[in-house]
Amino acid sequence: MSTDLFRIPPELASPLEDIDRAHPVAFRFDGKRLRGRAGDTLASALLANGVHLVGRGIKYHRPRGIVAAGAEEPNALVQVGQGTRGEPNLKATQVALFDNLSAAPVNVWPSLKFDALAANELLSPLMVAGFYYKTFKEGPASWWDRVYEPLIRRAAGWGKAPPGPDPDTYEHTHAHCDVLVIGAGPAGLSAAKAAAESGARVMVLEDDARPGGHLLARPRRVDGRPGHQWAAETAAALAAHPEVRLLTRTTALGVYATAHVTAVERLTDHLGPGAPGPRQRLWHIRAGRIVLASGAHERPLVFADNDRPGIMLAGAVGTYVHRYGVLPGRRAVILTNNDSAYETALALLDGGGSVVAVLDTRREPSGPLVEAVRARGVPIRAGYGITGTTGRGRVKRVWISPLAEDLSPRIAETTLDCDLVAVSGGFSPVVHLWSQGQGKLAWDDRQACFVPDPARPAVEPISVAGAANGCFELAEILAQGANAGAEAARAAGFTAKATTPPGVEAPPATPPAPIWLVPSDKPPGEGVGKHFVDLQNDTTAADIALAAREGMTSVELMKRYTLAGFGTDQGKTGNINALAILAHELGKPIPEVGTTTFRPPYTPLTFGAMAGRQVGALFAPERVTPMHDRHRARGAVFEDVGPWKRARYYPEGGEDMDAAVARECRAARQAVAVLDASTLGKIEVEGPDAAAFLDRVYTNTLSTLGVGRIRYGLMLNDDGRLMDDGTVTRLGEDRYLLTTTTGGAATVMDWLEELHQTEWPELDLHLTSVTDRWAVAQVAGPKARDLLAELAPDMDLSAQALPFMRFVEGTVAGLPARVFRISFTGELSFEVAVPWSVGGALWDALFKAGGKHGLTPFGTEAMHVLRAEKGFIIVGQETDGSVTPLDLGLDWALGKKKGDYIGRRSLARADLARDDRKHLVGLLTEDPGEVLEEGAQLVDDPDQAPPMTMVGHVTSSYMSPTLERSIALALVARGRQRMGQTVHAPLADGRVVKATIVDPVFYDKEGKRRDG
């Protein structure tokens, strides 16, 4: 095990250091066993071990290293963990180190050190932006699918998906607050403090494990104390405040309409696999006001071969030195266009490193930081740039040259040997969430960055403070934060006092002198060096220039053409350079080119966290009836119908479905059988206008229905198509009970509510879903009455007392019950409804008494067969959104004398009155043993070549145990006029089945059986 050779000796450690040197942490990278310290990130631990080469570029497979220290990292993507806990594409800069962590590079083959696809670099003159649109067309057209695309697909993508289901759990939680502060750097902390002092309910979200922001990595003094200490104390005070919730390791991801902010809290990721509790928690926060204090990201400078491992952001280098006690290099070259990188130089020197030179693209750098570095004997070369680099696997040498006034290409003047290049191109405020909240950006010429435009505020209630607002002076950052916090509290209705911001000691933050492309000896794309703009997508300055040349003049088009900003870092560091280079190519000012849209999420979010608990059985909770256990006990096979589990059939003694169904059907036709019909939708409509309402939504007249009577009703949509069917029972003068199909219950309920609330609010009624108020047993068969009479001795269930389509209340099996004479099987049938909670008791009582009558449970499949024998339709099976009641031969259900109802007008439209529409008919196959495939299409001429003229299709098809032959229902054009004619069903297996069109009622046409 190698030791962390690049760890700064304790005596030179920064006071900001935040690792526990006493706790070594063993980990593996790329198969090697290494050691870091508690508090390290994977990136800092790798750097401490001198590991810079951590990956390869996507196109040319050039060696790549760690660039940043946070979410903006473009390069260092790793696969962490193994098996079902394996996770691709994590940024090493964001992975907290834990014992036995195992990480591996992604997309390298055969190995990180030797990658075969590095040969791509030889082809790089061809692999320019959009090259694949121009080629891979050679050869036959099929080569794309067979040859080219498989090659591209294999080369693309970073890490690998885990092989099986995730063992971890995720959860969602909702919160409301008056003021939501995003970011707990100095701006965010002082905003939160000001808001909290007003008594407002405050939430603070911090991505890092610790509050403090840049105070954790830069030596500053605030309020007479070291800045990181001030941050810790302020955060502790906030956390102790009863109205404040401060969440660390929590990243705000998106801002949506109505100040809805999503954030993810990483609960156990830093503890390693197997930690108890949910792994991540997704927060849905509804905020009164949002204070965005998300800081700024440093941006790199673009120069030739700026992608080698060891070329890092200067700020990140400072962070590794101060916070993690790591020296990312011993001989550093610094390239900058602003003062901040000089702090990095000082940090490196203090940590025992050396600084070969500071190359400053400015002609006359000055100021205290510059002088401090000069005083330490570091050569400062003003007006210089890097024109090239070398080093396999790690930068070894840079070529440098003074910059021409017009930034034209320059031959290198000399070289500098180094093992680290720290680069700073200035800072870009992190405005993602502002933009998502529909705030606009303005170009700040002085700071050379896009900042939130106060003149064009966000639609969502967001204010911005600190570096996110383009403010880089610590004193001002604290003041802005305090103001924004107080303002937000006031806007949320609290009284916030003005506070005096604490005194600070910090170096002045001078603006950068923008330079977007450091010239080398040749224009980009023409020399050997590559000027990388987006490291993750291997987009170069030459690619952007080519895009501009080819007319991709909109920044969105350039992005799509070159892929700049399309990576997992979403261009946090590179985008600004890309658009500035585009602006330069187009000869336009940067603000005129503008930015691309900042799309959520701010950082990638696991699908697991998005789904939360809504996985597995909870994806869509199963609904079961109170008789469910009884069905299971009988070995029922279930089917999904809408959200419900319904018993499809009850096999006995090794029966297959057909045998079970045949037996169940015979029981219903010859003795008595019972179906659990509890899942049918049930809606009570109550109120003085209930009757009028129902007359409008059903095709039938329901106002004339007598109390205690039942009618079969049809509901149409606006287009005159059948939407749902069911029975309507008049329970009382002002009270109806509707049934709906099992799958349609929620839709119908919504539809009725919508009609009532938006179309006819003047009607006095209310709607109540009572589906799971009543459990229902449908008892059908010639002996149904005998069985029920035994269970309901006090009720007169005779045909005279309770004729067909009547309803009565009473007691069945000692349970309060409603009994309906309805028949969907064609047999004598009673639907017995009892309170949901005693459904099981009813079922048991039926079977206790039913044994001697041969009571048999029947499932949905037998129910389908029985109703098909009677020619009864099932909505969704005989109908498909195109079918009208006329098509189904249900004209009798259309009230002729009543007033208007939904769909009536549509039924009169030309197309719905056509006489060649499809009609519901029965089909009998030539061979009575042949059961047509449901969904089979019907033609008149089976010999026609495709496209064939289809005249209809089979909607239902079964072997009828009653008729002892197959039967089918179908929709056939002009079917009712074609009785006795033949149609053909050409099947997938090549057979053509012949069938004769017949009446859809196959059994007991006179309806004699329903009265028993």
């Binding site: 050679e138 294999r154 693309a156 690998k160 997704l282 080819e550 909109s554 439209r909």
Partner: protein, 418 residues
Amino acid sequence: MAQRATNLFSLARQALSHHRNWPRLWAAAEPRRHYQAIIIGAGGHGLATAYYLVREHGLSDVAVIERGWVGGGNTGRNTTIVRSNYLWDESAHLYEHSLKLWEGLTRELDYNVMFSQRGVLNLAHTVHDVREAKRRVNANRLNGIDAEFLDRDGVKAVCPGLDVSPTRRFPILGATWQKRGGVARHDAVAWGFARAASRLGVDVIENCPVEGFLIDNGVCKGVRTGKGEITADKVGIVVAGQSSVLAGMAGFRLPVTSHPLQAMVSEPIKPVVPCVVMSGQVHAYVSQSDKGELVLGAGIDRRNGYGQRGSFPVLEQEAAALLELFPAFSRLRLMRSWGGTVDTCPDASPIIGRTPIDNLFINCGWGTGGFKSTPGSGWVFAHTLATGQPHPLNAPFSLDRFTSGALIDEHGAAGVAH
């Protein structure tokens, strides 16, 4: 502008001069005063219309007017599923015509639109789904469209990553399979058509919003734009989510509502989803891009709106649906989400044809599923503009079907309408 075909050799030749001599993909154009035909909207459909107007109907003087940038509407925002296995004859014929054009499109346009015929699965999870799936497969077959019903094992063989175990909340009982379906690179489709149209002399005019119509006695004479008035013999509206707005400008109404529709991609990973997988029951659809991202589409946001911005719960639902099909994807991560504005019709079928204003035509209502028809839609709409009459393929998709009642209801049939 004489241009030679692009291929590996032209790339190599250009490389010698460091790619300095590539011409613009489409010429920068400023509006002329008059055109034979103006197409509003430089999405795929509008650009294809312009292309076929010249290529198939010999018009010489055509402009496409775009308020933003080429392909910036739904064309550049969709999940790019291409298939033709629609239930009803009218749709099947239209989409199949389009699919046939797709099959030759890269060559036709001399631009690689990366049309990838990796196959489309539509999963069936219930007895009802199976019945409907078989119905569609049978109808497709008899219409001459490739279609197969796969059982559970067949599904597993095509897409091994799917969890087909019977214990899932919505077990997979089978699927329809259209091998010729797949995905394409959406931007390339817009760029390819823009480039090809421009090479035929079409003016592609960006950053030029249409703000009104020049209408005289019920006859459309041209448009008012941010760059002035432009007259034309014929005008075609092809603006997807903005259709009702443009119709409003011309003084007529459409039975179209605009909704946000979101899509999202995961971080790029190595290939795991070899085909397109769609499920109406759990409401998910997913494919994997050539860059390695899982491309996922959500359902529409129920509310109406023209903002290209949806709400997060819709995406959560989509993620849950994804994990129901692929439980192993839980640790993969959403990288980016975005929204478009889709123009939905009551019967989930498009409107392609005449409007109440003479010489003004409209092509809209593709809703959540019009990318697949890009070439076909342009082809029939070009015919309609050029001849003043719909082609038999689009005749059933007239605006008057909402008066006659001859709807083409693909809701039930399509499940997820993409």
